[in-house]
């Protein structure tokens, strides 16, 4: 089943690279400012919709956080902030 995800990144460039990777896999994404609830940084995030199984296909290099958007907020999938 498909769900909505948000990936945050260390740099704007990492977000562009991730977005291109999604596009090559046929997944549309929208680059946008990181929601305040996810971070105090004012970087770029990618919002996209795909099946949970598809996440494993993507390289998550450069991602700071990967969350699933839920009805009442965000569910953490991957947290790389302490690296």
């Amino acid at each position: 089943m498909e769900a909505e995800y948000i990936a945050t990144f260390y740099t704007h460039y990492d977000a562009i690279v991730f977005s291109r990777q999604l596009k090559a896999a046929g997944v549309e994404s929208q680059l946008m400012p990181v929601p305040r609830a996810l971070s105090s940084s004012c970087g770029t995030c990618a919002r996209f919709r795909c099946a949970k199984a598809d996440i494993a296909r993507f390289s998550l290099t450069g991602t700071e956080q990967l969350v699933r958007v839920t009805a009442d907020g965000y569910e953490m999938i991957r947290d790389n902030r302490h690296s």
């Binding site: 260390y10 740099t11 704007h12 680059l31 400012p33 940084s41 450069g62 902030r81 302490h82």
Partner: protein, 364 residues
């Protein structure tokens, strides 16, 4: 409250505090100026000897510590660093020198516009142009690479320095310089200015308010959220200036400003471009430093050194003065003009050198 309303409200409070600080003694249209205030601190500790601009500004101390306290309260203090620190230092130097050619940081630019200073409108156009160029580089892969987790102490140094500065301000030992005339001698009472800084620092941490980020996000994502803070400051400071009779529309006779449009434009172009490359305006760098970002702290040190260079080498502009016979004096110096051009060239070189070769990607 949605994020746009939160940003506008935070901006409104900051605009109100900025006008109040002028009422209580700060120079006009200078309730806050990150560039001017860091320059004043550099003068106070003697790294430049421009006698009119020497004072340890409690607002700066408050901004950093307010952000630190808010970050600690929100469990958002994160000691981070390692993203091209020396390049950030150079960018900090460059942005500060350019800001002192204009005579103000982006925050003061907004406060100057709110006071009716049309020279700052020219600066704003240059600022937007600089940000637009920066966005082109971002789309072409400009990056100073990622940050890494650092030891806690590394994220606390700039805050510790602020406490040391506060001690020096209160103790006022003989080796600290305090202006007896000029802008440096004009200041709100210490506790009031410190409280103002603490409140604005906390608000700016909570909302991520950034003069550069607002315009960058509009150009890059068509997202107006951050710009709401900018607008909140402008609207409330404008109303406050009108109410207190500080508002005066025009180019000539504006407080601590010069009328040379070309250099107002170009210097703020450099500030806009350099700040996009740094990831935020001078206010934002102070706030990020409080949150534990050592790269931003290095940038602030760059501002400090840039201020000293600007005054020691005669790069900072002088405010336009009008003589009784109407002749104008002051404005940018020849050295300041040369420095602005060099800064623009250096910024482009840094941007190109840190850009990856790739196709431009369409955002949004």
């Amino acid at each position: 409250m949605n994020s746009k309303k939160a940003l506008f409200s935070a901006g409104a409070v900051i605009g109100l505090i900025a006008v109040a600080l002028v009422w209580f003694g700060n120079p006009q249209n200078m309730g806050f100026c990150i560039a001017c205030f860091i320059r004043d601190i550099a003068g106070a500790v003697g790294v430049h000897r421009a006698e009119a601009v020497q004072y340890i500004r409690p607002e700066i101390i408050g901004l950093v510590l307010g952000a630190l306290l808010m970050a600690l309260a929100g469990k958002e203090f994160q000691p981070r660093g390692g993203s091209a620190p020396m390049t950030r230092f150079i960018l900090g130097v460059a942005v500060m020198i350019a800001a002192l050619v204009f005579l103000g940081c982006p925050l003061r630019m907004v406060l100057r516009i709110a006071g009716g200073d049309l020279n700052a409108v020219v600066g704003l156009v240059g600022f937007i142009a600089g940000i637009a160029v920066g966005v082109v580089f971002l789309k072409r892969g400009y990056s100073l690479k990622r940050t890494y987790q650092m030891p806690t102490l590394d994220g606390l140094w700039l805050s510790a320095v602020q406490i040391a500065l506060l001690v020096l301000l209160v103790a006022a030992p003989a080796f600290i310089f305090f202006s007896e005339s000029g802008p440096g001698s004009m200041h709100a009472p210490l506790l009031l200015a410190l409280a103002a800084g603490l409140i604005v620092g906390g608000l700016a941490q909570k909302t991520r308010l950034c003069m550069v980020g607002g315009i960058r996000d509009v150009i890059l994502f068509k997202d107006w959220t951050l710009l709401m803070g900018f607008l909140g400051i402008l609207v409330v400071a404008l109303i406050g200036n009108i109410a207190l009779h500080y508002f005066k529309v025009g180019f000539i006779g504006q407080p601590i400003a010069h009328v040379d449009g070309v250099w107002n434009f170009l210097s703020m172009t450099a500030v806009g471009l350099g700040s996009v490359m740094l990831g935020g305006c001078p206010l934002r760098q102070l706030i990020l430093s409080g949150e534990g970002n050592a790269d931003s702290a290095v940038t602030v040190v760059g501002y400090f050194v840039g201020a000293a260079i600007a005054h020691n080498f005669g790069l900072a502009s002088a405010a336009t003065a009008v003589a009784e016979d109407g002749t104008l004096s002051g404005g940018p110096s020849a050295a300041g003009k040369v420095a602005t051009v060099i800064i623009l060239v250096v910024l482009v070189i840094i941007a190109v050198a840190n850009s990856k070769r790739q196709e431009t990607v369409k955002e949004g």
